[in-house]
């Protein structure tokens, strides 16, 4: 039987491996030139790479979901997550019905705050489940869903990194905490768009300086993606980033106060004294 330390190690290894493999699945266009330059007797069927990568990404989502659901392993956390996901799904439903400016989306607000307060696993689930449930509600189930779930999950998961940082800086429940969260939201607003573009970028063809073509070098791929992103996505993604900053700036302090209060109630455990 594996002890609790061994279990934790295995758990962290699974999270690390699935995150790295997921990153590779998104970034495969940047590695393809290496494959292309390697002679192979059967030839490498580049047309099948997207399908393979989608399958691998699906496996990573499954592994991360499985691992993260341990973060909602008791009734209280399940109920808490269900209700928060419902709130966030309604926000996304409103966003679909009445689109905001650019890529503005209110869903990242709660995902970031949940990941920050309740930890990486909870944050990942919050992001992934929000996208899953809201896709069902809005009829938006499609091949893009695993990528969206994965990326939104990363947003929540990575927000947990801020927690020890804020403690170390002594910014808990101070203005610095909100500033840091707002900066984090701004960064992820752009990064979310940049990652989601990669889902479709290799399929798109267009002007040679902006699009991926088989056989181009790694540096050339990055340069082309950079031009593509600046030309097509930056303005759109800025809407999302600024929206995150606005929402965290306006509602962050009050929402964090409420979530902190409920966190104490939801994680309260009664242990009778040993006789």
């Amino acid at each position: 039987m594996i002890g609790s330390r061994g279990e934790r190690l295995l758990s962290n290894l699974v999270i690390l491996a699935s995150t790295l493999l997921g990153c590779f699945s998104f970034l495969y266009p940047f590695f393809l030139p290496n494959f292309q330059q390697t002679p192979s007797p059967a030839g490498i069927r580049l047309s099948e790479m997207p399908l393979t990568m989608t399958l691998v990404l699906g496996l990573c989502v499954i592994a991360l979901l499985f691992e993260s659901q341990q973060g909602a392993s008791n009734a209280r956390m399940v109920a808490l997550m269900g209700v928060l996901v419902a709130l966030n799904s309604v926000l996304r439903y409103i966003e679909v019905a009445i689109p905001g400016p650019g890529g503005f989306s209110p869903v990242f607000f709660l995902i970031i705050l949940s990941g920050y307060l309740f930890g990486a696993k909870f944050g990942f689930l919050m992001g992934a489940m929000t996208l899953f449930v809201s896709a069902i509600l809005t009829g938006g189930v499609g091949p893009w869903l695993p990528s969206q779930m994965f990326t939104a999950g990363w947003v929540g998961m990575s927000a947990a990194i801020l927690s020890p940082l804020v403690v170390r800086l002594g910014w808990q429940q101070r203005r610095g905490e909100i500033v840091l969260l707002a900066l984090f939201g701004f960064g992820w607003g752009l990064l979310y768009g940049a990652i989601m573009n990669l889902w479709s970028w290799p399929f798109i063809t267009g002007p040679a300086d902006q699009y991926w073509q088989p056989g181009i070098s790694f540096a050339e791929t990055i340069a082309r993606y950079g031009v593509f992103y600046l030309a097509t996505s930056l303005a759109w993604d800025l809407g999302r980033s600024l929206g995150n900053v606005l929402l965290i700036g306006l509602f962050g302090t009050a929402t964090l106060r409420v979530l902190r209060r409920f966190r104490e109630r939801f994680t309260f455990v009664y242990q009778p004294a040993e006789v």
Partner: protein, 353 residues
Amino acid sequence: MPGGHAPIHFHPWVWLTWTGSTLLCVSLTRNPLYLVVVWLCVAIVHAAGGMGELARGSAPFPLWLSLTVVPLGALFNALTVHVGENILFVIPGAIPLLSGRVTWEAALYGATNGLALGVILLVFWVFNRNVSIPSFLRLLPRAFHSLAVVGSIAMTFVPCLQQQYQQIQEAQAIRGKQLRGIRDQLGLLLPLLVSSLEHAFQLAEVMTARGFLASLSPLTRSNLRAAFLGGFGLVLGGWLSRFWGLPGWIASLLFWCALALFGALFFLAMRQVRYTIYRPRRFGVRDGLAIGGPSLLSLLLVLNHLFPERGLLAYTPYPALTLPPFEPLVAFLLLGILSPFLVAVFAGHDSLS
């Protein structure tokens, strides 16, 4: 169709397999002739009407809408990709993106991509139409039962949220509070958040009282984690084998072994989770027949993937336009997508009359 038979509602597994199989076809080929066959099959299943649980209530999705992406794709690609030997015309000057030769090859490639996108849209529309939300949640593997519970809570809580929002709005209005700017929304959103979390707390108490337990046994968890790591190792091995220039079938085999490993261990993990279905949905003979076509098609596509040397579905119009290959046997196999429709026809499905 005479007779007045009861409408057929296929099992959600039929639709899941059908969706997966069709998406696999679309992902594996850019041969426009095969894509046309796939689109026709999906369009027939779509036009046959609802054969699932949501069948009668949902609004129709016009077929032409799925085809609008074809000319758009052709136009966009032809105007922006100046690659190919058969020139249609040349856009003079130095207009960014547009100037250069407009070729038949680029137009065909754009149209083919548009058609693939159109099929994907149509397939998901058919799936969303035929599988209800409870059935969709029930499709989640039992190993993820706590996530399915999260999803169920979220789904059922959405209407409650609407009610709560209205009540808070009315209460604020009675107090004479007017919502002018975005900052005033805090007066609505915070009470909504607090009351929702209170609701979650009560729900958790009820779940605990009824013996809800979300976690798997530690041994199963460890086995699954080890299997994940093994599976990831196989995937990595597959990539490295391609990187080192080993034959393509080795990588394919490793990828499929990883998939099989994940599938087998999930099956074992699922068996450990006990659950009760109050209204079980039987998988009947008709469901078996309807799932047969897509399953066979998927199996053959996977076999084709394992032995890439054949390249049955491959086609690209670049650099010079050629007639896409068309093997009648492949087209016949693609007709497996039609099987839900064919079963419904032979069973005398009402909505086909």
